[in-house]
């Protein structure tokens, strides 16, 4: 009697334990809502929302994720690049025009014997370049910061989802710890990016602009120093993250597989009467979990793409445009304008490095979530 009661309690506990995953096939949307995706999606830029709508994710549901068409996504990405190019081109044309005007003004002074007034126009043209690009830049930096913040929010929401999945699968805590460490470090890095890196990059941009407007202050050394340390910290963060990731890959997968298989075998063979039922239901649980996790994972990947593709495309177009403009001004020997344009391009390079690192971490994090199903 005591034995039957004991196994009944275990059965009830196991049912409670597996209750959520048993209906996971229908509860993919619950997983999505648990990830805090709706709150983050509401805070996204209108352009990102339009991008999501265009690829067919206007309404965030699992069905919409499954219904995604590869060619539609590809076309939308291409259109996003085209729009970014079109919008940046206008401002870049104005910048190139300002460079031309500056070169034109400089050419007046070349023939004169005595003192010239033309050199006073260089700080003015630098100010005009900076102010012309500032409207686009402010929006771009804001979007990049919002993207990194969203990445941090997604990253933070990934741990509870992972814990739910691990608990539902009955995974060993030791095995899950490695995955948690990977996701946890990415959380820390994402938070560092949004709290320290983006403001530091902003300061770098502001100092760069000031350095160009007045080259007697020699602020460009401070700009180079900030850039150097930002890249060093970024490299350090990447080193820590990928070290933990490689340790996780080598250690945890074998432990996970053996532990979960042992739990399945024990439940099926050593628990009388109801053990077989649990063993069978474990397969259903695993199948439904796979659906649920894939949904969360695929959805996460698309969200990250949707968040970052417009920003990455814009920043890339701007970097290329600014580099071309700096080459253009270098051809006319306009030193101040060249340095200004290079500073702007350098700052955007730091932003794009941070963003690409965020995207990489995100793909890996969702990969970690997806591979957790492999053990069952």
């Amino acid at each position: 009697m005591k034995k039957t009661g004991f196994f009944l309690v275990i059965f009830v506990l196991l049912l409670l334990f597996f209750a959520q995953p048993c209906y996971a096939a229908d509860e993919s949307d619950t997983y999505i809502s648990q990830s805090g995706i709706y709150e983050s999606a509401a805070a996204l830029e209108s352009e990102t929302k339009t991008f999501l709508k265009e690829i067919g994710l206007g309404e965030i549901t699992a069905q919409n994720v499954y219904a995604l068409d590869f060619f539609t996504v590809l076309k939308t990405v291409f259109d996003s690049f085209q729009n970014a190019f079109r919008n940046a081109l206008k401002t870049l044309t104005v910048i190139a025009g300002t460079v031309l005007l500056s070169a034109f003004a400089q050419s007046f002074g070349e023939g004169t014997k005595g003192q010239t007034i033309q050199h006073i126009l260089h700080p003015v043209s630098v100010c005009v370049i900076v102010l012309c690009s500032s409207a686009s830049f402010a929006a771009l930096i804001g979007e990049a910061a919002a993207g990194v913040r969203s990445a941090a929010a997604f990253s933070i929401s990934a741990v509870p989802i992972m814990c739910v999945i691990c608990a539902a699968q009955g995974k060993a805590v030791s095995a899950s710890l490695c995955s948690a460490a990977t996701v946890g470090i990415s959380q820390v890095l994402n938070t560092c990016f949004s709290v320290y890196f983006i403001p530091a990059a902003n300061i770098m941009l502001a100092l760069g602009i000031s350095a160009c407007a007045n080259n007697t202050l020699h602020l460009d050394k401070a700009v180079k120093l900030i850039r150097k340390y930002l890249l060093i910290f970024l490299g350090g963060g990447a080193l820590v993250y990928f070290t933990v990731l490689s340790v996780r890959t080598s250690v945890s997968s074998a432990v996970d597989e053996s532990t979960v298989k042992t739990i399945k075998f024990a439940s099926a063979n050593f628990i009388p009467v109801i053990g077989g039922a649990i063993g069978d239901s474990a397969q259903a649980v695993a199948a439904s979990l796979a659906v649920s996790k894939s949904t969360v994972g695929v959805f996460g990947l698309f969200c990250i793409l949707a968040i970052f593709i417009p920003i990455i495309s814009k920043i890339l177009v701007w970097i290329i445009g600014l580099e071309i403009c700096s080459l253009f001004s270098e051809a006319f020997s306009l030193d101040q304008e060249t340095v200004c344009l290079k500073h702007l391009a350098d700052t955007l390079t730091v932003f794009i490095v941070v963003i690409i690192f965020c995207v990489t971490m995100f793909f890996i994090n969702f990969g970690v979530l997806l591979t957790l199903r492999g053990a069952v």
């Binding site: 206008k90 401002t91 104005v94 007046f108 003192q115 007034i117 100010c127 012309c132 500032s134 402010a138």
Partner: protein, 128 residues
Amino acid sequence: MMFKIVLIACIACIFALSFKKINESVSVAILIAGTVILAVFIITHFVGAFNGMSEMVSATGINSSYLKILFKCLGISLVAGIAADICEDAGYTALVSQIMLAGKVSVLLLCLPLFEAVLKMCIGIIRG
């Protein structure tokens, strides 16, 4: 356009050289007149380019007042440069320095709103 400019420059030069030995003040007056005519001629031809650029700026949604300031500065430097060259040719070097100073002060006064806007933008960027 270039043919007309060369023609005006040659005529002014010939007349100035012809009158240099007879009456130097008339020669300088001819030189000034020729230079002003040439400057006006060149600037009127550049107005089209400036208008085109202003239209481009307004199409981008960028505040066109920034570019207007650049155009004004360019104009001031042009006028100051021409005046300084004329004074230099006439041999009044003290006037050249004063014209340069006046030009620089004018450009500085004109650009103060620009510097203010850049400063505000830098503060805005730092504040995030």
